[in-house]
């Protein structure tokens, strides 16, 4: 039983150092803008500024992401409030070594609250986020470490089995 995340400082530091998407994201934006054929100039312009203004910030408590030149967006969220982490990638993104990390909180929308784009080290970031989510560490799940509690749980499981036997017999 080896627990991996005794938060390795070196690995965390490399995550904290991320502030900008990888240039491959720009390549990806060019490709998907080309796919919109007639709308290419407009879509390309939007994506160009999106790429150049995109900033990430990972710190001890949470993560923030911002982009936009005319309409500016910034989203800040706490690691502990993350509900689930999705990793998505289409074929073009995989060819470029990219994936999107969709981070969901418990807000009312089904779309992701933050989508981290253009990260080559998406798996490391996913593991980093995961290690800081609620319930990822053993902090509040001590049942395993306590042999007495384990024995008591086994007793209740046995009792439950007895009860089910009785109920079964009562039905026949």
């Amino acid at each position: 039983m080896v627990l991996q995340f005794s938060s390795m400082p070196a690995a965390d530091d490399s995550i904290f150092a991320i502030t900008r998407p990888h240039p491959n994201l720009m390549t990806y934006y060019v490709i998907i803008s080309l796919a919109t054929l007639p709308a290419f100039p407009i879509v390309m312009l939007v994506n160009y500024f999106r790429y150049h203004t995109m900033r990430f910030r990972f710190d001890q408590e949470g993560i923030s992401m911002s982009w936009g030149i005319l309409f500016r967006h910034q989203t800040v969220l706490n690691y502990a409030r993350i509900q689930d982490v999705h990793l998505r990638s289409n074929l073009i993104e995989r060819w470029l070594g990219l994936a999107r990390i969709d981070i969901q909180t418990a807000s009312g929308s089904s779309s992701a609250e933050v989508t981290l784009e253009g990260l080559l080290q998406f798996e490391a970031v996913r593991d980093f986020l995961y290690s800081r989510m609620r319930g990822a560490t053993r902090k509040h799940e001590t049942a395993h470490a306590d042999p007495l509690a384990d024995t008591l749980r086994e007793i209740s499981a046995e009792l439950k089995a007895i009860r089910q036997n009785i109920e079964e017999r009562g039905r026949v």
Binding site: R88, S109, S110, A149, S156
Partner: protein, 245 residues
């Protein structure tokens, strides 16, 4: 033929290899896969859809062919253009038949449902690869769904939902690769739905504060006491059961 093409295809599509289990104690990791019958189920759905497309294509081709054979005074160029268009449509149809079938087959194989003692990870998809990681501390409810055809084949979908709106996610893209919408993970096409459900429920039971809340707030009740309370509860139920029978 499929066996031969699988590896080059996976390399071309850059499908990552089987996913790593999310961190947790190593001995608790359980990997579930879609059942064999899920493949059969997907093929049936695919056949129904393809029959529809075939009907549509023939509704286009057949009248054109009849018109072509009746109208003998049509100029050669027009005749040639209509025939070429027909050939293109039919070959596109045949090509998509092959591609969608391969995608379906790979989609069935590239599917992993991993459960550890603290979290679950679902990987699915070939064109668009999706992976979802969720901790049990965040799970709100579990639903098991089974349609009539699925019941005949003995498979079901287990859906694990976390908090937040999943705006109309249930219906659309039902058959697409990995339809993990916003706040839900889907164990699609498993033949041991009840085992998976009970396993997840068992894991959930350890989190008294499951759902929303502040991060890891501390419960003062020692684990042995809460376990003893469970024994008490179970004993009461047992007594109730004995007095009934």
């Amino acid at each position: 033929m499929f066996e031969l093409l699988r590896d080059p295809l996976l390399r071309f599509l850059r499908v990552p290899p089987s996913p790593d289990p999310p961190a947790g104690s190593a001995d608790s990791t359980q990997v579930f896969r879609a059942a064999r019958n899920f493949y059969i189920w997907s093929v049936i759905i695919w056949l129904v859809a393809q029959t529809g497309i075939a009907l549509g294509v023939s509704a286009l081709i057949v009248p054109a062919a009849i018109g072509l054979s009746r109208n003998t005074r049509m100029p050669d160029l027009a005749r040639f253009a209509i025939m070429a268009a027909g050939i293109v449509i039919v070959s596109i149809y045949l090509l998509q038949l092959l591609v969608t079938f391969f995608a379906l087959r790979l989609g069935y194989e590239m599917r992993w449902y991993i459960v550890t003692d603290r979290s679950l990870r679902i990987r699915a998809g070939v064109w668009s690869v999706e992976e979802l990681t969720m901790t049990f501390a965040n799970i709100q409810q579990i639903t098991v769904k089974q349609g009539p055809l699925q019941r005949v084949l003995g498979i079901a979908d287990v859906k694990v939902v976390s908090a937040g709106g999943a705006g109309g996610g249930g219906g659309h893209g039902k058959h697409g690769p990995g339809h993990n919408d916003g706040h839900a993970g889907n164990f699609e096409g498993v033949d041991n739905a009840n085992i998976i459900r009970d396993l997840i429920l068992d894991r959930l039971r350890r989190y008294k504060d499951s759902g929303l809340g502040d991060p890891d707030h501390h419960d003062d009740t020692p684990p042995s006491l809460s376990a003893a309370q469970e024994v008490l509860q179970e004993t009461r139920l047992l007594r109730a059961a004995t007095s009934r029978s």
